[in-house]
């Protein structure tokens, strides 16, 4: 955290997801797929084949009725800053093709599809299963290719893809800012598709370093946690849950271990 404050101008885009608000409706997943031209298969139940940049997981506390509780957990790419927040996230460190990169300017982990040759080291390195491999070329139903977004390039067979925090929206917003003679964005000018699609307002997106953005305060919530924090991957996606078993599910603990 000290590291972050040293770079005053550097942005750290991140997300805070309130799991108490998430109903598991899946609108974020749909919005993400539509926004980012994510291909889908005829049989989406085949999870080794299907690609979901943002996946909603269902957690249960494992207790029998009537104590059963369920929590839905949306999981985008965590855009890890790595230990010490130097940008050495697990995937960036292992990529032999320089296809995935960490930007110190925005804190976003990028994936360049034309650069990737599909070795899938990054998939093995990512502890969050946020990366997906294209086993097939995308096939769009007749006429649907006309509905693809021109702002995101379509991926081909044999490469890895993942959530980009809708980086193209940042680029588009910056274009407008430059045109109007500004160098900085307002909080609402750059929001991801999933954030805007969430009907429960469970997802909040913004610059974690900017005290004017909502996420700056939300991440300090006493119930805030990140996934697998023990690995020191330093993710930029925070979760909030008032339920202790959910917070514990965010990491691996021994039965006897207190959080």
């Amino acid at each position: 955290m000290k590291e972050e404050q040293n770079h005053e101008k550097a942005k750290q885009f991140g997300m805070v997801i309130d799991l108490d608000k998430c109903t598991g409706c899946g609108a974020c997943m749909v919005a993400c797929m539509a926004e980012n031209n994510v291909p889908f298969k005829e049989d989406e139940s085949k999870k080794l084949d299907s690609i979901t940049w943002l996946r909603v997981y269902k957690l249960t506390n494992g207790k029998p009725f009537p104590d059963t509780e369920i929590c839905y957990l949306p999981r985008p790419c965590q855009h890890c800053g790595g230990k010490g927040n130097h940008g050495h996230s697990p995937c960036v460190s292992v990529c032999p093709a320089t296809a995935t990169d960490y930007s110190k300017e925005t804190g976003i982990v990028s994936q360049i599809y034309t650069r990737c040759f599909g070795c899938r080291y990054c998939m093995a390195a990512c502890p969050y299963h946020a990366r997906y491999f294209n086993w097939w070329d995308p096939v769009w139903p007749d006429g649907m290719e006309k509905y693809l977004s021109p702002n995101v390039s379509v991926r081909m067979r044999g490469i890895v893809e993942k959530c980009s925090f809708c980086f193209h929206r940042y680029q588009i917003a910056m274009d407008k800012a430059y045109y109007e003679g500004r160098g900085e964005l307002e909080e609402n000018e750059y929001q991801t598709a999933c954030t805007q699609a969430c009907p429960a307002n469970a997802i909040t997106f913004g610059d974690l370093n900017n005290s004017g953005h909502a996420v700056h305060e939300l991440k300090k919530d006493k119930n805030a946690f990140r996934l697998l924090e023990r690995l020191q991957t330093n993710p930029k996606v925070y979760y909030i849950s008032s339920r202790e078993w959910v917070r514990r599910a965010g990491d691996n603990y021994l039965k006897t271990e207190k959080k």
Partner: protein, 237 residues
């Protein structure tokens, strides 16, 4: 004074010995087959020259098909008539995106009717304005899907002039022939006209290295963890 002398004697001694060695070896070869090696060298030179001609002259001609633009536009003539330079027609939209090639709507104010005696203008008015069809211009700068380029960042933020990257197109009276790569479908302006890949002016070529060269020099940002240059996502999408 003594040192140079030592050197010269040393060198001369060296050359003497090598000359002696080569002459004795050459003597044996000459004795065996003088004509054969001559033919080999001759055929090698012929083959070498032929492959150079094929690779540098014939192949590029085969690789690129030549297409004429639908209308031969005269930039110089129009630049005199407008008040705001390039941006009179090649303008930014209010959301900061760049409109690129103008649409007919920007032309019809003047070109509702044929004004002059140019056959190109007559064609434009009769074929496109009268029939309300947009001109299918061939865009020299069309890049692959994965490339993101922001005119706003270069023109508005960095304050660059159009001519810095595009060259003196405003002074041209005729559009250049559009050469399309038969394999990739992209314009030759991307790879560059020079078959050896030599670039003299910034507008000679539009490859990634050309973007990166200037970004490294001018922007000087080192936001990428992988390369210690500017991050990939700046230009890729």
């Amino acid at each position: 004074m003594s040192k140079p002398d030592d050197k010269t004697t040393g060198i001369s001694a060296g050359t003497d010995s090598t000359e002696a060695g080569s002459s004795s070896a050459g003597g044996i070869e000459k004795g065996q087959g003088n004509g054969d090696s001559g033919f080999v060298i001759l055929f090698f030179i012929i083959g070498f020259v032929a492959s150079l001609i094929i690779g540098w002259v014939v192949f590029p001609k085969l690789l690129y098909s030549q297409k004429a633009q639908p209308i031969d536009f005269n930039h110089a003539l129009h630049l005199e008539a407008v008040s705001d330079g390039c941006e009179s027609c090649h303008l930014f939209r209010e959301d900061g995106t760049y409109a690129g090639v103008p649409s007919n709507a920007q032309c019809v104010d003047c070109h509702q009717e044929v004004q002059g005696d140019s056959p190109e203008e007559k064609k434009f008015v009769e074929e496109y304005v009268a029939k309300e069809r947009e001109v299918p211009w061939l865009v020299y700068s069309k890049q692959p899907d994965c490339v993101f380029f922001s005119h706003a960042a270069h023109v508005k933020k960095a304050g660059m002039e159009c001519i810095t990257c595009h060259g003196p197109i405003g002074e041209s009276t005729s559009l250049q022939v559009y050469e399309e790569n038969r394999i990739t479908g992209y314009s030759r302006n991307i790879w560059g006209k020079n078959i050896a890949g030599i670039k003299r002016e910034p507008w000679d070529r539009m490859k990634m290295d050309d973007c990166a060269e200037c970004h490294e020099k001018e922007a000087g940002k080192r936001s990428s963890v992988q390369t210690d240059k500017e991050a990939c996502f700046v230009c890729h999408k």
